[in-house]
Symmetry: C2
Subunit: 450 residues, 2 copies
């Protein structure tokens, strides 16, 4: 049987490896992972920094040794793949510990190299010693060590996405003064501005200083250490800087390989996670994802998709039937007691696609109004005019608010209309919901507008 070589030992790579091993007990599976860890939850890093999670080891689901000993998967950590030679069916690998290189042949290849925090390489100081991205377990350890050693007082977070917001909470909890700048009119640009403003307000209530419509222009450096962040409007003191400007796929090493790249340099794949080159698959944050609502390819870095696409790639490699249908853009985020969730398309995307839609928001409660702990929840729905088909949903609230997005994600995936949502037999008891679930209350309001 052909040797399966996997580049990248996190969610996508190890989901695939485990799946192939379940089907083929004796197949040779080799994994090269550039860090010291396998199968870890990068999503947990902010909670490690905040102190909610005591040890970084808790974020590791399965260690390299476990994969080697229990699953007979030949994991090589601290091995960085530098080049893929698809003609020769081999990859060039750097053994970082011994600083030696070698060529590894493959029968089947899976690329699961994930993503990295976008950083503005045109700005001097982007790689200063007190600037951090949040994508690998190592980056989490770096941040933790820096905070412990240097006792920073002030942090500037550049970018208002999920990671920026989660890190804002983490650093607040560690007692830092936190400033967040974003070039957008609101934080969290995957929400419409009318919902984003509620998140901005929540951040301010929590004690984060937020500057909107403000761009990073440079850094004031002392040696290799940033002391101030320069924006187009002001200088901000910063003992540390965190980039939360999005994630880029780790695909630079594929240049010249003939493997086709798409949006943002993410690898193009079909529904079986096959690239354009025979015997080469790709999965996880390094790949494009089909948005099932817009039918366009996008780049999303998300643990759920890494697990799903890894499983599909593994099934396909193992010779089974499997299809990854795509995503609808569901995401959720918690900042202290606030919960934020979104799915589907937002207004700017609908406008770009030329889809006629109506949108509205409602204020409701997470529980029956008389039940203790009922808190405000704001739901926004977007639906196609005439047909009433649900196209997007956004939710902001406190405990119990965000997971309601899953009904909307299900509805969008299966082309349900607002009337379908109103008709749903959703669960109700006073500790869980008003008698009309807030998503239904919003659907009832919106259906009158289409």
């Amino acid at each position: 049987m052909d040797t399966l070589v996997i580049i990248g030992g996190d969610a996508a790579g190890m989901s695939a490896a485990s799946k192939v091993r379940r089907v083929h007990k004796d197949k040779k599976i080799i994994v090269f992972e550039k860090s010291a860890y396998t199968s870890y939850s990068a999503c947990g890093i902010p909670y490690f920094i905040s102190g909610l999670i005591e040890s970084i080891d808790e974020l590791v689901r399965r260690s390299p040794d476990e994969f080697r000993n229990k699953y007979n998967i030949d994991v090589h950590t601290e091995h960085l793949v530098l080049e893929v030679d698809t003609n020769g069916k081999r990859i060039r690998v750097l053994d970082k510990q011994n600083n030696t290189e070698f060529w590894q042949p493959y029968g089947q290849l899976l690329i699961a190299t994930g993503g990295k925090a976008y950083c503005p390489k045109d700005i001097t100081g982007y790689d200063a010693e007190n600037v951090f991205g949040v994508t690998t377990l190592k980056s989490g350890i770096n941040i933790e060590n820096f905070i412990e050693d240097k006792k920073p007082q002030t942090a500037v977070i550049v970018g208002g996405g999920y990671i920026g917001l989660e890190m804002a909470e983490s650093l607040l909890r560690r007692g830092l003064e936190v400033t967040l700048i974003t070039k957008g009119a609101q934080v969290m640009n995957t929400l419409d501005p009318d919902m984003g403003v509620l998140v901005t307000e929540a951040l301010q209530v929590l004690g984060v200083t937020v500057y909107l419509n403000e761009s990073l222009k440079g850094f004031v450096l002392e040696g290799n250490t940033i002391t101030e962040v320069i924006t187009d409007k002001q200088n901000l003191p910063a003992d540390m800087v965190v980039f939360g400007m999005g994630t880029s796929p780790n695909t630079a090493f594929l240049e010249g390989s003939g493997i086709e790249l798409g949006v943002k340099g993410a690898i193009k794949v079909n529904a079986q996670m096959q690239t354009n080159i025979p015997d080469v698959w790709a999965a996880g944050d390094c790949t494009e994802t089909l948005n099932m609502v817009s039918r366009q390819h996008i780049h999303i870095a998300l643990g759920t998709l890494a697990n799903k696409t890894g499983l599909v790639a593994g099934s396909s490699i193992a010779g089974e039937q499997a299809v990854f249908p795509g995503a609808v853009g569901t995401a959720v985020c918690k900042i202290c007691s606030y919960e934020v969730a979104r799915t589907g398309l937002q207004e700017k995307e609908l406008n770009k696609l030329g889809i006629e839609y109506a949108a509205t928001t409602v204020d409701s409660l997470t529980r029956a109004n008389y039940y203790p702990g009922a808190t405000k929840i704001v739901v926004k729905l977007l639906a196609e005019k005439n047909s009433g088909r649900l196209l997007g949903g956004q939710i902001i609230g406190q405990e119990g608010a965000a997971k309601r997005i899953d009904v909307l994600a299900t509805a969008i995936t299966h082309n349900l209309t607002l009337q379908n949502i109103i008709d749903l037999d959703l669960s109700y008891a006073p500790p869980f919901s008003p008698v009309w679930d807030p998503v239904q209350t919003c659907a009832r309001k919106l259906i009158k507008m289409i």
Copy 2:
């Protein structure tokens, strides 16, 4: 315009009245309500008893005066309807305060008389002064007054349904010793026994004494007061008794009216909530409901359905298009920190219908395993053999567990398969879910069995 007369001023009746008023500003609308209250949440009664809600007034959404003054709806409380004369298009009404009767003509009639706690009228003492049902606000007040006045030490709850369990929590919180008897092999017979046993165990952990497979046979009475409950196995001391043996529709007064009754005496209606008699609608707990999975008519007493069917009846009465498609049997319940939810069909129903199915359960967590507060959640799914179509779901867990049933309810309503559920782009972040949502983990396990 014809006068609309509504019998019953709670969720279904007042939803309909409000809807009709929104469409027809000047239509004459008369409501007869047997109690002193309108538009109240009977679901909140256990939380009033427990002390979580301070005043019973908090359970009233809109008072009779509000309906009269703000909505021009002619509400008569303390008026009991004794008879419907569909030939003469009139109803016979008892004014309870003046103890006078009169005939009220109608142009259109809506019957929304709700349900009442089932009580075993063949057992002497069923109407003793320390025995209670939990369906009306008045019954809640009666229980509260009794506890305040008589300081009962022991309570026996007869029946292991939602109301029985919620009342068990309430009475525990009031410091009573609570015993629950049920003739079933487990409490909560809307769950399969393998899930019901988990609820029984949770009750026992909370301090409720549970006797399974045990039937009510009689009472030991002192005057009009029960002192002991006699079962087929033992005598249980009881300072008070609560019936949680289910709900019956309030339809006895329709005898001879020509209005057709179905399951358990619930009123037969079409999708517009029309009865078999022209100009007579019915909605809420007094009506039959179509189970969309089994395609059979059943009787369910639930606030969500009362609101939905009331709205559809109101739309239909107002001349608008509206359809109530039915329900899938979704229900949720909280007992102290435990959450229990169900939807679709259970094993005994599938067996009765002769549907070939597979079922399995998984233990998962409500959050990422490393995130503080992650607790156990047990999910059971039932799916059709061969097709993989989801047929039922049951969930037991703690905070954040139960509302996941809504995705399953949506899936069942729209004929989704296990593969569809696995493919759903559900929300994930460590504070909300493992990377595979527990419902998907269960679907992944079950799909291998079909």
